[in-house]
């Protein structure tokens, strides 16, 4: 199958610092890929390499089956949207949209047609005569997306496009980007540090750390079957509970508690007794009546309660280790209260304590 974007053994070093380490990534036609990771993980650098704004140290980049490793950004068939919008301040919205086309000396009526189409898709027609300073943040980002749109390219690159917007606008524009992708069916590569954006938008998420892709999978897999401790801890809010203990046969043993791991699908069969970490998502822990249906239950005392509106987050302890869980907001919880909580260990994740890899 022809890949839309294909990255082969890509490395980038700034002097002694290695930012990207022999990275491979194949992106299918029309796929929405999100590069997710903490700051400094190399996700924006990777995007800049794909765009051709940074020269790579080694490796190849293919876009639309063509080797573009040495090509100029304009010849790569990409459009890019930046975090700070990067609109040309002295030009009107219309001139901003048409700038690339004018540089390419396209015919006037063709420019007109494309600008109109982009403006119509993004609903910015009334703004065409305005300057960027007269626009709100959301409108500016729409224009920035429009600038990529008029180029009529196969691949869209988004570099944290929503990070400068306030929370409400961010969720609105997130939906619009999703709608845009559904309509245009272009390949989109989207860089963000926001896991909600990643989970909601992506066909596949690439979680990066220190210039290496840790896991590349669909959001469901990333969430339920994280490949290592880093991915498990990065995705999910509040983050996954980690219980340190030892694996003995098919039971997880920690300080005066033993949890049977029957039903858990091991990727690698554990041999003998190893130190492991058991990860349980807060939303997979039940309390009260529901807890009694769970394979594993324990009695515990609530320490802190955080009402979030839609649900409530509570802190408690299991075998001396801190555990958070998410309860429906109707469940009355007060600090000091004794409750029964329970979970299904098969839904958890077991990691090797030494390597951090999923078992």
């Amino acid at each position: 199958m022809q890949h839309s974007v294909s990255i082969k053994d890509l490395s980038l070093n700034f002097g002694q610092v290695s930012v990207l380490k022999s990275l491979d990534l194949d992106i299918a036609q029309g796929e929405f890929i999100v590069l997710l990771g903490p700051s400094g993980c190399g996700k924006s650098t990777l995007l800049n390499c794909i765009a051709g704004l940074l020269d790579v140290s080694s490796g190849q980049i293919f876009i639309g089956g063509k080797n573009v490793t040495w090509e100029e950004p304009k010849d790569r068939g990409i459009g890019m949207v930046f975090q700070s919008y990067a609109l040309y301040p002295q030009m009107t919205v219309e001139r901003n949209l048409s700038f690339g086309l004018r540089v390419a000396r396209m015919k006037k009526d063709e420019i007109e047609r494309r600008v109109q189409r982009a403006a119509e898709i993004l609903q910015i027609e009334p703004l065409l005569a305005r300057k960027p300073v007269e626009l709100s943040g959301g409108q500016r980002q729409r224009v920035a997306i429009g600038r990529a749109l008029v180029r009529d390219v196969d691949v869209f690159l988004f570099d944290e496009p929503l990070s400068n917007l306030d929370a409400k606008l961010r969720s609105d524009l997130r939906v619009e980007i999703k709608r845009l992708h559904a309509r245009l069916k272009n390949t989109m590569i989207y860089v963000t540090h926001d896991q909600i954006e990643a989970m909601t938008l992506a066909d596949r998420i690439a979680i990066m750390k220190n210039g290496v892709i840790q896991q590349l999978a669909d959001p469901h897999t990333i969430y339920n079957k994280p490949v290592n401790l880093f991915v498990a801890g990065f995705i999910g809010s509040p983050s996954m509970n980690f219980l340190n203990g030892a694996l003995d046969g098919s039971a997880f043993a920690t300080e005066n508690t033993s949890i049977s791991l029957g039903g858990y699908q091991f990727t690698k069969a554990p041999s003998g007794k190893t130190n492991v970490v058991l990860g349980i998502r807060p939303e997979h822990i039940a309390v009260g009546e529901d807890a009694r249906k769970m394979p594993f239950q324990f009695e515990s005392e609530i320490e802190i309660v955080e009402p979030m509106g839609a649900d409530t987050i509570a802190w408690t302890k299991l075998g001396g280790q801190s555990v958070t869980f998410r309860a429906a907001s109707e469940v009355a919880l007060v600090p000091g209260q004794k409750v029964t909580i329970g979970f299904d260990p098969a839904r958890g994740s077991v990691f090797d304590a030494a390597s951090g890899d999923r078992l």
């Binding site: 800049n48 765009a51 051709g52 704004l53 100029e72 950004p73 304009k74 990409i78 459009g79 890019m80 930046f82 975090q83 700070s84 919008y85 990067a86 609109l87 040309y88 301040p89 002295q90 700038f99 690339g100 540089v103 390419a104 920035a144 600038r147 180029r151 570099d159």
Partner: protein
């Protein structure tokens, strides 16, 4: 709650609390002191200008009587006309007029040439970084600390080798060279303060080195260019050293001619003409400062200090 209850509560609150609304401005003793000092300082620094103006409006007999600060009893504009038109510099008696036009020529050529080159320098050094560009920038800025006198002799030799010594293009080249460190610094710092994503966006849009420069960067650098124009205009107009050395007899700038008028040793010393000539020479930079003071401060704050 009824509106009655609301209003009674509101008035009660005002009565109960003390200060409310903006704090009143009170004229305190220390404030009076500060203003008194500022006014005195201003008067002190205006005194020489006052002396120059009144002296230039007096006839020689009145000047000889002393009374340095007095307003002229017989107002005359003769010294101003003489300074402009007929004052003698050595053998020629054409006043400051030719010097003024020479200065205009030198300034009008040197300012745009030096600014355009510095603009391109600053643009390239901030957006098109290459191996060694930081080093080159360092060397350029280091040039700002080299005393002019050190390089004058080699520059004379160099310019005379290419036939530019004592010509108008020669003095323009010299001003361009010596304006380069500070102007490049100014422009580089300005361009570095622009978001680099703007540059990246323009590259994705397909604009090249000159395309980005002319279509994006040039229209954005109007404020800093105003500063550069002011800096260069006043600097080049006020220059004496390079004018004496490099301009040649034909192109002596106004400052050099002023010096020749004031220090001329034949005949009597015409203080009123000297004063008028000095004011005339200083008028151009003064006007530039007065007209553009706001821009100047703004640009310096935006470009030179930051970054």
């Amino acid at each position: 709650m009824t509106s009655e209850a609301l209003s009674s509560r509101a008035t009660g609150a005002v009565a109960a609390t003390g200060p409310s609304g903006p704090k009143p401005n009170k004229l305190t003793l220390s404030r009076v002191g500060v203003y008194a000092f500022l006014i005195l300082a201003a008067l002190f620094f205006l005194m020489p200008l006052w002396v120059m103006v009144v002296t230039s409006l007096k006839g020689m007999p009145e000047i000889r009587q002393g009374h340095l600060f007095n307003w002229p009893s017989m107002l005359t504009f003769e010294p101003w006309l003489k300074a402009w038109d007929t004052a003698c510099t050595g053998r020629d008696c054409n006043g400051l007029k030719p010097g003024f036009w020479n200065s205009v020529k030198i300034t009008a050529l040197s300012v745009p040439v030096s600014i355009v080159i510095a603009m391109i320098n600053g643009y390239a050094l901030s957006f098109w970084r290459y191996k060694g560009s930081e080093f080159l920038f360092g060397v350029l800025v280091f040039g700002a600390f080299v005393p002019y006198q050190v390089v004058i002799y080699p520059l004379i030799i160099g310019l005379s080798k290419v036939g530019l010594f004592a010509t108008l293009p020669g003095i323009v080249v010299v001003h361009t060279i010596f304006g380069m460190p500070i102007l490049t610094l100014l422009y580089r710092n300005f361009f570095t303060s622009l978001p680099v994503e703007l540059f990246k966006a323009a590259r994705v849009d397909g604009a090249g080195f000159w395309g980005i420069f002319f279509r994006i960067m040039l229209p954005m650098s109007v404020p800093i260019t105003v500063v550069a124009v002011i800096l260069q205009t006043t600097g080049i107009w006020n220059d004496f050293l390079f004018g004496t050395v490099f301009a040649g007899r034909e192109n002596m700038p106004m400052t050099v001619q002023l010096n020749n008028i004031v220090t001329t040793t034949t005949g009597i010393r015409e203080y009123n003409v000297n004063m008028a000539a000095t004011i005339l020479t200083a008028a151009v930079p003064l006007v530039v400062y007065f007209v553009s003071g706001k821009w100047f401060v703004r640009g310096i704050a935006a470009g030179a200090v930051k970054g």
